[in-house]
């Protein structure tokens, strides 16, 4: 059985690349996947992980490279909620990945990942709204 020691980051936009740079700084074993080579310019010059250009919605791509079988943590940050939902279910139900983080623009997607203790949703809308409320409360004082 493959050793599960990799952190797989799907999507190398602002969020994905920042997470990749963070883990790279901590010396983790990272693979970042994006459909566009140009996205990897967001990575730091001393980024120590691997990059892979490919379509993450095509499971044969993830499987052929042996990425997902060796994943300890999968972080899904693409801008397509439906792709993110599918990848979450694949990582969870097919590969039993222990820690899955997924970003959703639509907070209602939480409906479809609830009840899975290993899956954590990240909702930029909710975070921004909470942030606004906190700032507003601060100003009211």
């Amino acid at each position: 059985m493959a050793i599960k020691n990799k952190i797989i980051i799907i999507g190398c936009g602002r969020l994905g690349s920042s997470i990749a740079n963070y883990f790279s700084g901590r010396g983790e074993n990272i693979v970042v996947i994006d459909s566009s080579e140009a996205s990897f310019t967001r990575l730091d010059n001393n980024f120590s992980g691997y990059t892979a250009v490919g379509d993450a919605s095509d499971l044969s791509f993830l499987e052929n490279q042996g990425y997902i079988e060796t994943a300890r943590k999968v972080i899904i940050t693409s801008g397509d909620d439906n792709l993110n939902l599918f990848l979450t279910h694949v990582a969870d139900k097919i590969y039993g990945v222990e820690e899955i983080y997924v970003r959703f623009d639509d907070p209602q997607k939480s409906l479809l990942i609830s009840g899975e203790p290993n899956v954590r949703g990240i909702y930029p809308f909710q975070l921004s709204f909470d942030n606004f409320l906190a700032l507003d409360e601060e100003d009211e004082k």
Partner: protein, 223 residues
């Protein structure tokens, strides 16, 4: 039957035409494209909800709860997946059917809970496979998402199984003879029925055993 048709263009129109005239059917049509919505409303005289079928407020608006069938026809596999999963989990739809472009998604979507996954490329290759069996004068029909195969095998006089009662041929347990066509009649076999030359055996088996059973039947009689 309450049928929900989510997205798709020509496919959606075709499915609507297939089912709209039966008064027992209730069609619920949802489409993300305003253009397609307008076309369907103008030509099919049915109500269409405009919006993305993977969003809960759109499925609420279309009132799809307890639908019998939900079919997702867009050309994005993951959009279809997300729509089907939402319909199944949150709206108690009995059966969800998902159209996919990528043949490698067929198995995985089934594993993830989509009841039926349809892929034209996948069907095409299955057809090519059965065409290549046809060359050996065998016709096949696959059922239940390719878990069951029905194979027609014509019997020639030099086959070992010919002129023997079924009980005597040690027929493998992994397959069964469902029927025998003989002179335009159908015989439902039992152990005493004797297989004749020119009979066509209708064999039921799993796909992985199909070639084994064909070779078993086609085994020549020892001289």
């Amino acid at each position: 039957m309450k049928i929900v048709i989510a997205n798709g263009t020509t496919e959606a129109k075709f499915v609507i035409d297939m089912f709209k005239d039966d008064p027992n059917n209730e069609l619920v049509v949802i489409n993300s494209s305003k253009e397609v919505v307008d076309q369907i409303v103008a030509t099919k005289q049915i109500r269409v909800t405009h919006g993305d079928p993977w969003r809960d407020y759109i499925l609420d608006e279309a009132n799809i709860t307890f639908a019998d069938v939900f079919v997702a026809l867009s050309n994005s596999d993951t959009d279809n997946y997300a729509s089907c999963i939402l319909a199944k989990r949150a709206y108690s739809v009995k059966k969800v059917i998902c159209l996919v472009q990528n043949p490698s998604n067929v198995e995985i979507y089934r594993k993830l809970g989509i009841d039926s996954v349809v892929c034209s490329t996948y069907l095409l290759t299955e057809n090519i496979k059965s065409e290549s069996s046809m060359e050996r004068l065998v016709r096949t029909l696959t059922l239940e998402n390719n878990k069951i195969v029905v194979t027609e095998v014509p019997v020639l006089s030099n086959y070992r199984v010919c002129a023997l009662p079924i009980a005597k041929i040690n027929f493998p347990r992994y397959a069964s003879i469902a029927a025998i066509y003989r002179d335009n009649t159908v015989i439902i076999p039992n152990g005493q029925v004797v297989i004749n030359a020119k009979d066509v055996l209708l064999i039921i088996t799993s796909p992985d055993k199909q070639s084994d059973i064909i070779s078993f039947i086609k085994e020549k009689r020892k001289k």
